[in-house]
């Protein structure tokens, strides 16, 4: 048998072979786990697409002078394309389903790693939550974030009792049981995903007129939770440190119910900090919202026409009050937006086509057919 000598020890061919096998096994295991992790993680490409929104931000090439933060009250209600087309505002919505205040704060921290916007618009509905709510919503916001101290802090602040940091570090441990639910979409999107938003705006072109909402339940305590208010304070300070104007808004949708007492507390906060707070519920008529045709789910969220009206209205406020660039004049940025607008238009056409064919959307929404 061929023998080599090293440090007085004999290395036989079989020893070398074994070492190579061990090294190969380690590499093979790591590669397989890496692939399997990508395969098993939810893709959020059809139906519930909210889990794709946060990571899409990192693919956006153009600069953003306005960043919207919040939950579905921003990502479904404000058309970023309208803002650009009408005012030249280059914006991005960093929002996802039931995005909690601290998640918005850490997403702002995360955003500042890549760019510094001039204005941050925060939708206040999530202030009502002072505790972690649900793992599935956490996942949709947190899995898509790039790793940073902000992500770690956001996970720590968001975890429910049954969640563990290790499952976020190695999502494989959380999603391994999806092996029996894998679909063609999972295999198709192991390494790449399709866009689901236009700069964070999630389009729905269908219509379901606003209906009656249940009467608001009286609450034992109307005080907004300390935790969320503390994060709002931190958000304000972060904006101050970075010369960013913070604007607080309440989207014009009526449900979930936004209590007057909450509104007053946000008002007080805004007054105390010298920042604007605009409750667009009171401005629905001014912006021309017709909730018999501007909502797709009976008034919970705006549809495409509603989002365009809201964007048109808030855009006017933004250009009137802040020194925002008209990026339509800048070819490189406008070029980037051109792609976004193309995507937006193709999505609109696809949804309109489906609506004319079936009278409803079948490829979008929580119950989308794959």
């Amino acid at each position: 048998m061929h023998k080599l000598t090293k440090n007085g020890k004999k290395l036989t061919r079989s020893t070398i072979l074994r070492c190579l096998c061990v090294a190969g096994s380690v590499i093979l295991t790591l590669a397989a786990l890496w692939y399997l992790q990508r395969l098993l993680m939810p893709k959020y490409q059809k139906g519930v697409v909210e889990g794709s929104m946060i990571e899409e931000y990192y693919l956006s090439e153009e600069p953003h002078e306005v960043i919207f933060l919040g939950d579905c009250e921003v990502y479904e209600n404000i058309s970023t394309v309208t803002l650009f087309e009408e005012y030249g505002i280059s914006s991005y919505i960093r929002g996802s389903a039931q995005q909690l205040t601290w998640q918005s704060y850490y997403l702002l921290e995360d955003t500042l790693r890549y760019e510094t916007p001039k204005v941050v618009v925060f939708n206040v509905l999530a202030l009502k939550y002072g505790e972690p709510q649900s793992e599935s919503y956490n996942r949709m916001t947190l899995d898509g974030m790039r790793w940073s101290s902000s992500k770690i802090a956001s996970i720590e602040a968001s975890m429910t009792e049954d969640e563990h940091m290790i499952d976020y570090v190695f999502p494989f441990l959380r999603y391994h049981s999806r092996w029996s639910e894998l679909t063609a979409t999972d295999f198709e999107h192991v390494f790449s995903k399709d866009r689901v938003t236009t700069n964070g705006y999630y389009m729905r072109a269908d219509v379901l007129p606003e209906g009656a909402f249940p009467d608001p339940m009286p609450l034992a305590d109307y005080t907004l939770p300390d935790t969320s208010m503390e994060y709002l304070e931190m958000m304000y300070e972060l904006c101050e440190e970075n010369d960013i104007e913070l604007v607080l808004i309440k989207a014009p949708t009526l449900y979930p119910y936004w209590y007057e007492q909450w509104d007053d507390q946000v008002d007080e906060f805004a007054d105390a900090h010298g920042i604007p707070y605009i409750n667009y519920i009171y401005l629905r008529d001014a912006m021309g919202l017709d909730m018999s045709e501007d909502t797709y789910d009976a008034g919970l969220h705006l549809n495409l026409s509603g989002a365009e009206k809201f964007a048109s209205y808030i855009g006017q406020y933004l250009i009137n009050n802040y020194d925002l660039t008209d990026f339509r004049q800048y070819a490189d940025v406008a070029g980037e937006w051109e792609d976004d607008i193309l995507f937006y238009d193709s999505l609109r056409q696809a949804q309109e086509a489906e609506l004319s064919e079936y009278g409803e959307l079948r490829s979008w929404g929580a119950n989308a057919i794959e």
Binding site: C21, V22, R174, H176, S177
Partner: protein
Amino acid sequence: MLFTSLKFIVFITILVIVYYAFTPAKERWGLLLMASLAFYFFADPRFLIFIFVTALVAYVHAIVTEDYQAKRKAYLKQNKELFDGDGKKKYKKTTANVTRLLLVLSLLINLGILAATKYTNFVIDTVNSIRGGEPLSFVNVIIPMGISFYTFQTVSYSIDISRGTVKAERNLLKLLLFVSFFPQLVQGPISRFGDLSQTLYTPKQFEFKNVSYGFIRILWGYFKKLVIADRLLPAIKILTGSPDEYNGAFVFIVMMFYAAQLYCDFTGGIDITIGIAQVLGVTVKENFDLPYFSKNIKEYWNRWHITMGTWFTDYIFYPLSVSPKMLKLSKWSREHLGNAVGKRVTVYISCFAVWLATGIWHGAAWHFVVWGLMNFVVIMASQELEPLYAKFHAKFNLKPHKGYAVFEIIRTFLLMSSLKLFDCYANVGLTFKMFGSMFTTFNAGKLFGGALADIGLSSGDYILLAGSITVVFLVSLYKKFKGTDIRGFLYDRFPLFALSAVILLIATLVFGAYGAGYDASQFIYNQF
């Protein structure tokens, strides 16, 4: 710290690295002791007190007994002339009596701790149910993890010391390591001092083959535990939790599921235990030898939980069978009841005692006692029916052949699976009722039409279980026919060995029933 917890996996990984990379070979037993105590500490710091006391009692007993015996022996040797035949006998008898007294004292303390922690509430519950009226309150008592296992190990050590079959360990810390060696604290095997001390204290070098063998065995254990046992457990709980709904044919499903679940849970845990020990250079006795290939119940018990069976044989059955009172009874029985009955009396009594103890050892509940006694009845019945079988075989010219062997294996498997039902249902009466329903309302049609999909298992789970159990069966078949486990075959073709390890690891990580959505179930034998 469960074997299946991430904490344990991190713990064991760090231990192995520190063990081989930073600890001199001679000192490695010390690291094992620290790891064992840490393992116990993390489970519950209070447990340490119990294990310390148990080890200390055994230590003191061993030293005192050995010194006493040596002193007496030396005195006898030096003063031969002082003793005539009777005097020598008397002297030795006194030595034996004192030795026995010391042993009784030691056992009283250690078995007393076991009884007090594990069986107090069982006794209270039983008394309450017998006497009625104002019930006695239950005692809030902690049950140290693995107390049955380490107490039995310690008891065997004390008895072996008394018998003079092992030498006393004079280093308290080394004895503490024997008692607390962490891989086997959770669910055994029940090691003997004479066996375990051979490798526990000796300086250990890193041996690639040993570590590889141990590593793949750990993976195999996790595969059986997480992919099969823990996937079946929720379904078994559903099936046994609604006995009115799931009777008849479903009881047969429970039998099959529980047979697979218990086997994979227990052997999986033992594989992890022995694998970890092997990685650390410690040889622990095997606890299973293909029990489901047994042709009769006696053989089954020689192959299932072997170290417990041999413990009961060595420390209860034999001592009881040859005790003076039993010999006297045997003689009396032969004289008064005839040779055929007389020779059985002592065997029956000893066997009864063993199975009663086995039942109680398995748990502080009456269904365990009944389960133990049912084993006794079946073993005795099969022994008594042996001549009848022989006549039957002779009459129908049934010669041993493969087909008949398969029949015997299936018969034994079904019989043992039936007895395991006592472990599944809430009480003994219900178990009998459910067992009976298999014969009165079997109705196999109930299994179809979606009922099996309503017990927490999807079609994917069924396919996975069928595939995994087939793999376990094939690996067992290899051992059955080759007489050695498959690791040797794979190791000689090392790339195949490495690939098998990768596949096992990935299969366990992907298909294992762990994490969110699963109730991380402890190993069943953990409770003992």
